[in-house]
């Protein structure tokens, strides 16, 4: 009997999560609340049942996430009785770093990248599990499942460890760490199909609803709270929109959609002509921007 495609991906993901649990002294699951994190959490519950996952959840909060994301995060942690660590870069917070005054690049670097590095150092995590997929972006397509970071959290794309079969080199020197991507071989379609099959809860922002948005540089930005400074002439309009990816709300473009259910979302995606990262303002700077950010420790 041959396993189905999703069964194969699930088995691989669980295998990877168990390797992490067995090989590292203090792993953590980087929980970013999106659909990929939801799948990752679901796999973690499956991998260790009937025991709970042997690691905590970490959310690096930039304070600019959609409100619905935060509500969803807290409710999931409560329901599942999981240990959730929330970290916000205190210096960034003190200096009031935000995407408007400081630009998306600096905001992302300080609140996300630096924040993550601080949290890893502060708690002494030696492994951080993330939901990144190779089909998201060109430099991700090159990254290993077990991705080594040096003592300054840098990724060295030119000296990646060969990764054969499903044998993972998990060795670390002092102060080094590992990033692990159990969903490396999943596509966006696989993720949604699996969410459908397993009835995995996701943030409602993925489904179409009438939401207040402004159109800015060709992107629909949701007015999630009063902190979004409106430019002259801008007036929030209620439009039927949804999100393909979730992040900081001022940096995440919505798409016009009427897809209210999972099947609608899947149908829309199979017909789509744009990639999911298209809605991410932070990737547009230049073709290799992701590689650069990753070298600096971005997830």
């Amino acid at each position: 009997m041959q396993l189905s495609h999703l069964d194969t991906l699930e088995a691989e993901g669980i295998h990877i999560l168990r390797e992490v649990a067995a090989e590292f002294s203090k792993p953590v699951l980087l929980y970013s609340i999106g659909k990929d994190s939801s799948v990752l959490l679901h796999l973690s519950l499956k991998a260790f049942a009937p025991a709970p996952p042997p690691f905590s959840l970490l959310h690096v909060d930039t304070t600019w996430k959609f409100r619905e994301m935060i509500a969803f995060r807290d409710q999931r942690a409560r329901e599942l009785g999981l240990d959730l660590i929330v970290h916000t870069n205190p210096e960034g917070l003190a200096r009031g770093v935000n995407p408007f005054d400081h630009g998306s690049a600096l905001h992302t670097d300080i609140m996300k990248t630096q924040g993550l590095r601080q949290a890893i150092d502060k708690h002494g995590f030696d492994a951080a599990i993330g939901g990144a997929r190779r089909d998201e972006e060109k430099s991700r397509a090159k990254e290993r499942i077990f991705s080594h970071r040096n003592s300054t959290h840098r990724w060295e794309p030119k000296s990646q460890r060969p990764e054969l079969w499903s044998l993972y080199n998990t060795r670390l020197a002092a102060h080094e760490s590992m990033r692990i991507f159990p969903l490396s071989n999943w596509t966006e379609l696989d993720v949604w199909h699996y969410i459908l099959r397993e009835s995995i809860p996701v943030v409602p922002l993925y489904f179409a609803a009438r939401r207040p948005v402004v159109e800015r540089d060709g992107t629909l930005i949701m007015v999630d709270d009063e902190r979004l400074p409106l430019r002259p002439g801008e007036k929030p309009q209620l439009r039927s929109v949804r999100f393909r990816t979730l992040g900081c709300y001022p940096l995440t473009g919505a798409i016009e959609s009427t897809a209210e259910t999972l099947l609608d979302v899947l149908a829309e995606m199979t017909a789509s002509r744009v990639s999911e990262r298209q809605g991410r303002v932070i990737d547009r700077d230049q073709s290799a921007s992701m590689e650069k950010k990753k070298q600096e420790g971005y997830f």
């Binding site: 009997m1 041959q2 396993l3 189905s4 495609h5 069964d7 194969t8 699930e10 088995a11 691989e12 669980i14 295998h15 168990r18 390797e19 067995a22 499956k46 991998a47 260790f48 049942a49 009937p50 025991a51 709970p52 969803f72 409710q75 190779r134 972006e137 397509a141 090159k142 794309p157 030119k158 460890r161 060969p162 990764e163 054969l164 079969w165 499903s166 044998l167 993972y168 080199n169 060795r171 071989n185 596509t187 379609l189 459908l196 009835s199 809860p201 409602p204 489904f207 259910t261 999972l262 099947l263 149908a267 199979t270 017909a271 789509s272 002509r273 744009v274 073709s287 290799a288 590689e291």
Partner: protein
């Protein structure tokens, strides 16, 4: 909070066929393949073309491609599809592929995971990474340049790593005017390589990655080509391994103990299937028990199949830790001495004797290379003597491990027969290897325990058992010396047995010919028989050409130190041919005997035999006396 609410598929609002589409896409696992071949054969371009033609590129990706093509100028005015896959800055700048990239795409018929691997020899390790999980290789050849060293090299590596299906894509056909003659010429050249490697299937396709000929659609420019275009071939080929009943192997990754009442053993089933109530054994201990439960997050299951990640509980309290293997059916190898192939992947060469960390299945143990038997020249497939392996070299080694390793031969199981070596100081992954077989001291726990042992049998015969292995050309005098020696030893009251290569071919080895493979098997059988006789306490005389060093080494490995004496009968070929007692040389020179050692098949003389005897210098009886003297002096008799 929104719980997903999958709609009724009959709902008219759901696009027609979506659910059927999802079901069909899910039904079979993705075909994992890699593209390989020389630098500039157009691997990345071909993959980019596949993505482009299968309409899998999104509008924003297309816009980025147009901009990138203009910026690098490598598209010569058109689109440079390679930029879709060469994801690293350094790769785009140099227009080369450095690291393996994985791409995911699907057609209406099948899903694909493709590993685009580098062509440069210096990045062979990244190519091997891509090959280790693929079941098919698309090997590219530039139609102008034909079969290259890298073509051979990559063919060997993919076959070694267990890929049994290969597509030879003769690319850039547009640059040779779609010439059928040129295509046929390259196919003929490649047939020679493929013949040696014995793939299960091979398809040659003339393509142009740049212009799309025979990639997605049949090209009008190759009316002489009757086969399918590349995409159609990939959609249809069946690469599923033989589902014949493989024995159960479950490497234990993790022991789950949430409370005193539950002890679950977690792992992914590498082969076979498991059912509640099945009898299993746990290795290396070999303790037998039964499967109590197959636990999943959704409750207990009746059974689980190969590839699934499961948690088992067992009926008996057995001490099991990470790295143990739960197995059924034929027992796995449990050994601390293993014969293996290794690809070296580090700038710092392999150091025989140095300890590395070996990871195999879920286990990790320190291991060293006790013998580097030979290096394989992957261009010619010749065996070369070597003291070390440099970056990207492949060799055959004996691996000594600190703890016994539970594994299977790689050709039977990729998951249980592949291993990596990690440098204990730099933590780099320095080697990748495949298990061939277990060597002596293979502590197969299923062995019947026998009270009377070799030592007691030998004591009774008042001798130290040993094998005297005579090797040399046909007609060198091996059998004559062995015969004289056996007569002298029996005269002294010793217990002996003579295994003569020619005589054994009338019985035990009647089914074997003289091809290199048959010669290897011939030596293996004689060595195993010799081992039984040594175990019986006898002095064994084995006289056979045994032309290959590696097999004589393999024979030596079956015995304990001091039990294997190699005697090289070094009579030169001219003398052997002059004598030609059996008239064989004459026939061989006339071409009537193929694979005749010394004439049409190689003889590899021993590097450090215990004895070298040249019968042009010493007679058979005197030679035998010399050996008797040696046996006395060293306490064998």
């Amino acid at each position: 909070m929104s719980r997903p609410d999958p709609r009724d598929p009959r709902d008219p609002g759901v696009p027609d066929g979506l659910e059927r589409f999802l079901r069909e896409q899910d039904a079979r696992p993705a075909l994992r393949f890699l593209t390989c071949g020389s630098v500039d054969d157009g691997k990345s371009t071909l993959i980019g073309r596949l993505l482009y033609d299968s309409k899998l590129l999104f509008d924003d990706q297309l816009r980025a491609l147009e901009a990138d093509s203009k910026a690098t100028g490598s598209g010569e005015g058109g689109l440079d599809f390679a930029l879709l896959v060469d994801g690293l800055q350094a790769e785009r700048e140099q227009s080369i592929t450095i690291d393996v990239a994985y791409r995911y795409f699907a057609t209406a018929k099948r899903r694909f995971i493709v590993a685009d691997t580098p062509g440069h020899e210096q990045y062979t390790r990244n190519m091997a990474t891509g090959a280790s999980t693929a079941s098919l290789a698309v090997l590219l050849v530039d139609a102008r340049r034909g079969v290259q060293t890298q073509t051979r090299r990559h063919s060997y590596i993919v076959r070694w790593l267990g890929i049994r299906h290969v597509v030879l894509a003769v690319n850039k056909m547009d640059l040779v005017e779609f010439s059928a003659e040129r295509f046929d010429e390259i196919v003929r050249d490649y047939d020679e390589i493929a013949g040696q490697l014995r793939f299960d299937s091979m398809q040659c396709i003339p393509v142009s990655g740049r212009h799309g000929d025979n990639v997605f659609d049949r090209s009008a420019k190759t009316p002489w080509y009757a086969g399918p275009p590349l995409m159609q071939y990939l959609e249809e080929i069946d690469v599923a391994p033989d589902p014949a009943h493989q024995p159960l192997r479950l490497p234990v990754q993790w022991v789950s103990r949430p409370n005193q009442d539950f002890r679950g053993f977690c792992g992914r089933i590498a082969s076979g299937a498991v059912r509640r109530g099945d009898s299993v054994a746990v290795f290396p201990s070999g303790r037998a028990t039964k499967v109590a439960r197959v636990v999943t997050a959704a409750g207990d299951a009746e059974s689980a199949a190969s590839g699934q990640s499961v948690t088992l509980t067992l009926e008996d309290e057995i001490d099991i830790s990470r790295g143990d293997v739960i197995a059924a059916g034929e027992a796995p190898i449990v050994a601390d001495q293993l014969a293996a192939h290794i690809l070296w992947m580090d700038e710092e060469p392999l150091m025989p004797g140095r300890q590395y960390l070996m990871k195999c299945g879920a286990s990790a143990t320190r291991a060293s290379i006790s013998t580097l038997k030979y290096r394989i020249d992957v261009d010619t497939l010749f065996h070369e003597a070597a003291k070390t392996l440099a970056l990207n070299e492949i060799g055959v080694v004996t691996l000594s491990t600190e703890k016994p390793v539970v594994c299977d031969p790689y050709e039977r199981s990729r998951e249980c027969g592949g291993f990596i070596l990690i440098d204990l100081f730099s933590n780099r992954t320095v080697g990748a290897g495949t298990i061939d077989f277990a060597l002596r001291r293979a502590t197969n726990v299923r062995w019947q325990k026998i009270e009377v042992d070799k030592a007691s049998r030998a004591r009774l015969k008042k001798q130290k058992p040993v094998v005297l292995w005579f090797t040399g050309l046909s007609g060198a005098g091996k059998s004559t010396i062995a015969d004289a020696l056996e007569r002298q030893l029996t005269g002294l009251g010793q217990h002996t047995y003579l295994l003569d290569g020619d005589n054994l071919r009338h019985g035990l080895n009647r089914d074997l010919g003289f091809t290199p493979e048959a010669r290897v098997e011939n030596v293996r059988r004689v060595a195993e028989v010799a081992r039984l006789f040594v175990d019986a306490g006898l002095i064994v005389l084995a006289a056979l050409i045994s032309p290959f060093r590696s097999e004589r080494e393999m024979a030596r490995h079956l015995f304990e130190t001091g039990e294997f004496i190699e005697i090289y009968v070094s009579t030169p070929i001219a003398e052997c041919e002059r004598r030609d007692a059996k008239g064989l040389y004459k026939k061989a020179r006339a071409g009537a005997i193929p694979n005749f050692t010394g004439i049409s098949s190689p003889y590899e003389p021993p590097e450090s035999p215990e004895f070298t005897l040249d019968t042009t210098e010493i007679g058979a009886v005197a030679a035998a006396e010399e050996i008797v003297h040696f046996l006395r002096r060293n306490g064998y008799i």
